[in-house]
Symmetry: C2
Subunit: 332 residues, 2 copies
Amino acid sequence: MRRATMNDVARLAGVSIKTVSRVVNDEAGVHPATAERVLAAIDQLGFRRNLSARNLRRGSSTGTIGVVLEDVGNPFYSGVTRAVEEVARLRGRQVITGSSDEDPSRERELALEFCSRRVDGLLIVPAGLQHGYLVPEMRAGTPVVFLDRPAGDVVADTVLVDNIGGTAEAVLHLAAHGHRRIAFLGDSPDIFTANERLRGYREGCARAGIGLHESLVVMGPHDEDSVRRALHHLRRAAEPATAVVTGNNRITVHALRALAGAVRRPALVGFDDFELADLLTPPVTVIAHDARALGKAAADLLFARLDGDGAPPRRVVLPVRLVARGSGEVRA
Amino acid sequence: MRRATMNDVARLAGVSIKTVSRVVNDEAGVHPATAERVLAAIDQLGFRRNLSARNLRRGSSTGTIGVVLEDVGNPFYSGVTRAVEEVARLRGRQVITGSSDEDPSRERELALEFCSRRVDGLLIVPAGLQHGYLVPEMRAGTPVVFLDRPAGDVVADTVLVDNIGGTAEAVLHLAAHGHRRIAFLGDSPDIFTANERLRGYREGCARAGIGLHESLVVMGPHDEDSVRRALHHLRRAAEPATAVVTGNNRITVHALRALAGAVRRPALVGFDDFELADLLTPPVTVIAHDARALGKAAADLLFARLDGDGAPPRRVVLPVRLVARGSGEVRA
DNA sequence: CCGTTCGGGGACAACGTTGTCATAATGGCC
DNA sequence: GGCCATTATGACAACGTTGTCCCCGAACGG
């Protein structure tokens, strides 16, 4: 029941452990006949080399990278993960993932656990604003790339999307179709992207020449019920909103469900694209950005660091694009 | 740039390396003043214990479990992953994932790589039918649970969903709404679930008293174009299909897109539920089963083995349920 | 005052592997 | 035949940690 080691293989094959090592690592200079004996022994014993021991001895790479994100189960992040995996695979690395659920202490726990495992690098979607805990790790040579949101208090490579520009564009799109009372429904303002998108909303209003009505801004709801209530409120007000910008895919979906079957639906533009948006009635106009592109960009940055890139930390902002499908053109 | 080791900490704190170990592991019998000196040194050097070394020395668990599935980026599998992660977290384990992309050799490569890392257990969505390569690993004490599909040639714990019963139910549902020419659009017959669902389709036809028309069965298409062509063919035939059962969520989505805007759409029931199915026009009737439940059941089984459960391999079949939303009731 | 106990701490080996260096056997060349 | 280069192999230490065993000094009871 104990696992066979090189020692066991060596004994069975009647060679030294070093010869086994040579065979396992395809090193030159082993007599074919000897190699064959060793391979037979390996097969017979079901030997598989212990990577922990190997990595310990060699001291170099463990061949793993750690990814900490909000929720591996969220299609957006699973797209990110997949892209990371693809890059990692080309570089012969395995991916370890963990979900922080927006809990900063959980994020920290995961990241440090990964460091204990000596991951070659870390990809993090920050849950909180404090990342000082990473400084010793970064100093010790573990590259870190932040994803989707910047770190609070350390400088490091960061890949973001153009939240502000995208949301502003959403507002302008709605304004171009005659809307003047455009609401913004965003996630908790503690979340970087939610805040940025709120800024984009304001910028869009300004550029469209629409006065800002704070009563049209609702931040925080993120489950179906609270989104429903917020929408109800916005539509029943003295001067009801005729259009809504939703701050992320979850909120968009909750809003669509809340509005299903309603008469005189407000126009809607959602941040984040999602599958089937084109098949709904009306098809949903979105600010699209590519989860895979985000993951790939971050992974590329990380591997550049592992390849020795010593340039100052970079901040990459990926473009977004408005995909007009119809829901933003509903009459005011 | 070299990482601090316990030795470095010991030197700085003026104690032996064993005392550092004791502090790091919260072992009793260290004078508080000594412990404090050690902790200060740890902090100053940014020491973090090397889990590879620890696991090697202790020989026990590495605290990881490996998950091989088709595609981490597919929402269905990311739901599975999330559920696995939750169970693993409660047991203090990390999750390593890898996508096989339905390639048996890739599956094998990933699984064996994970074994080299000495994962505590393996969760596999089989890509192929040959799993003999796992026998030595299982014999060496690595528990393996197969997920969603059974292994071809080894007996091990397996968690499946009721593919046959579910698909049969779909056919009966359509038949109950007057359909007699019901088509089945499934994935490659090499894939276990596709085959099972085809069997379910046939069983459903038999139970509904519908004669089997092989021209109504199309296996294989799984990208948008081929699904589109298959549907076109089915609808343009001399005796066109009035209803379709789609074999998985990808095919369902492709079919919906192909049918968008068509007149006299065939009725449709899809295997696998998906987000927004209820918001489409008409809302899509599906055979629903729960990715999270699948992941949880498999992880529970795995941890039971790790806890020493030595019972014969189990096969768990999770129930599915037909969620009638309307698309199955379209007039024949 | 001596033997015992106990708290605190250290020396050393071992986990499974690989890098370094040494050694034995072989063959070719003068 | 003697010498060296080459090939095939092995002995040994080291990676960073932890388990085992041992030691030292202080406190305590008789």
